[in-house]
Symmetry: C2
Subunit: 345 residues, 2 copies
């Protein structure tokens, strides 16, 4: 009958729909702004052949982390990592960060110092300067906003939009572990809440817990690619899940992608936990997110350079756009891939 | 008797104490990092003689703004302005911003669009590109984190630490208006909450309301200074209140400052509202904050250039550090100035 058509819920759009909607009309005014919204980082040309890269991420208590099991020091470390990962995903190196934190006044100085000790540890590990930020009271739990600044030669920067038909699709490390760590922590929390006398049983799960609570960014991969004399044709970091990132590469590069289920790298610990929790292991790698590995495409002529490399796995290839997004299963069936990235709303 | 000495409350430190505590041990690793924490913006050298400036500010619902009377469009506009102001305060020009927003899913798309319409309006007004950011669900009210990026020639950048004894202390525009606008809005809100049938009476108070709800950054002052051939010896924007900013200049420049009460520029509308609310007008300019005017020091030899300039008022002078921080009152008495900036905790 009567519908109020002037109100649109955020849930109906999802995060990427919202971003698209809010940013589609942006017109860039400065010629130095080489890349605005739509990649892992913005790119600003600051001298002949030289660029500054900038990215920012917001971490909110109750949405991105649960203080019930997330140690404050690890929280500070991870908050930095997720931003550095975006700079590496442009084939660039982070140099500085700014850190803004909002906390309730009920927090003690020592608690804030824990967060900062993690931030400083990440800065030391990744050779990054902490150069500024903001602190504020918060009525609303912990708010962490970090901006990372990197640099790269203009011709070395890799965007999401450069993949071509026949290019090979590669990922670093293994996938799904961070999500399995998250699921394990959530399960143990539920058990503890229901019966506080039961202690959480996390023993023997170091790998997936570390993937969730102390992820690392693939700083080494930038050097590995350089040493192999490979410039990827496109690249993105895996923060929202493999499937979602494949869709970003495909839509921005105007191609299709086919990947092979049996090629997706997974640690045995990830596989076993998925089985224990009665989850489909492949689905966990496709939709899990937070692995902070790199997904990139290379020319076929670079295949021999990455073949059998311990840090890099070829999982598929780029196709014509008309072929769409496909997962070839272990028994040879072709399934249409769905973009099941992280949905914030 | 027994004190728990290992727990320190944030209230006992205050915002600046917390920042000092968390950042005092930072050692910068990259030679390109010219200025880290401690000024309006960080400064990164990116080419011979050329620098990128970066600053970030966090705005949290219930701390920095009250949606009870703050229109969403104005909120977006102001969130940009407070960041651009920090870039101008370095005698530099902003070129790009990144915007991260966290909102509850109960918000409609149209409400978010209102915030963004204010952000886009500020970008248009100040010739700035929106180049990136993040969006997230929030369980905790609206969170806005903006990062502004500017550029300047290395030798044109003005820091907080360059003021010398005998330099003149100048401010732009007039002070205290934003605080009076805030006090008026808070008063009318209290009246409305106590008796919802009474409509807020804001008529005739356009100036102070605009100072609070739609502040502007002093983009023009950067051009004025250049036209007058003045490079300030130090500069800061007035976000936390004149007194607090004077202390930043003095402590970083290792000097004392004396200012004259009768020189502090105040709009009649600000003065009248202070009187109506039974507040000391001078105290409102010293401690009010959010005016986003610029406070700077110049050499005495530049006095004639700014004398009688409609946008600039000389309010005092720099002294030896041993003379401390002083306010010379209208009747000639000398009072010690207190740093009563905004206390977040």
């Amino acid at each position: 009958m009567f519908e109020n058509t002037s109100i649109t819920s955020l849930e109906s759009l999802g995060e990427f729909g919202l971003i698209d909607h809010l940013t589609k009309k942006i017109q860039l005014k400065h010629p130095a702004t080489i890349k605005g919204v739509g990649d892992d980082a913005a790119v600003i040309k600051n001298a002949e052949g030289k660029c500054t890269l900038i990215t920012t991420d917001l971490l909110l208590e109750g949405i991105h982390f649960d203080l019930g099991y997330f140690p404050l020091k690890h929280l500070g470390y991870k908050a930095v990592i997720v931003n550095l990962s975006d700079i590496y995903a442009m084939n660039a190196k982070p140099k500085q960060i700014l850190v803004s934190i909002g906390v309730s006044s009920k927090f003690s100085l020592e608690a804030i110092e824990e967060i900062y000790s993690g931030i400083h540890a990440a800065c030391a590990q990744y050779n990054v300067d902490l150069v500024g930020g903001d602190t504020s009271a918060s009525k609303q739990g912990i708010v962490i906003s970090i901006t990372a600044i990197g640099e790269a030669a203009e011709d070395e920067i890799v965007y999401r939009n450069g993949a071509k038909e026949f290019d090979l699709v590669c990922v670093t490390g293994d996938l799904g572990g961070a999500y399995m760590g998250f699921q394990l922590l959530e399960r143990e929390k539920r058990i503890y809440v229901n019966n506080p006398e039961l202690q959480p049983d996390l023993s023997g799960h170091d790998y997936i817990l570390e993937r969730q609570l102390k992820p690392e960014a693939r700083k080494d991969v930038i050097d590995i690619l350089k040493a192999l004399n490979i410039k990827p044709t496109s690249m993105i970091d895996i923060s929202d899940g493999l499937s979602s990132e494949l869709f970003h590469i495909a839509s921005q590069s105007d191609i299709g992608i086919s990947i092979y289920e049996d090629k997706i790298p997974m640690d045995p610990a990830t596989f076993n936990m998925a089985r224990e929790l009665e989850l489909d292991p492949t689905l966990c790698t496709l939709s899990g997110g937070e692995d902070y590995e790199l997904l990139f495409t290379i020319k076929q002529s670079d295949f021999e350079k990455v073949n059998n490399h311990p840090d890099i796995t070829v999982i598929g290839h780029c196709t014509a756009k008309s072929e769409g997004m496909n997962l070839i299963t272990k028994n040879g069936n072709k399934h249409t891939l769905l973009a099941q990235g992280w949905k914030a709303f």
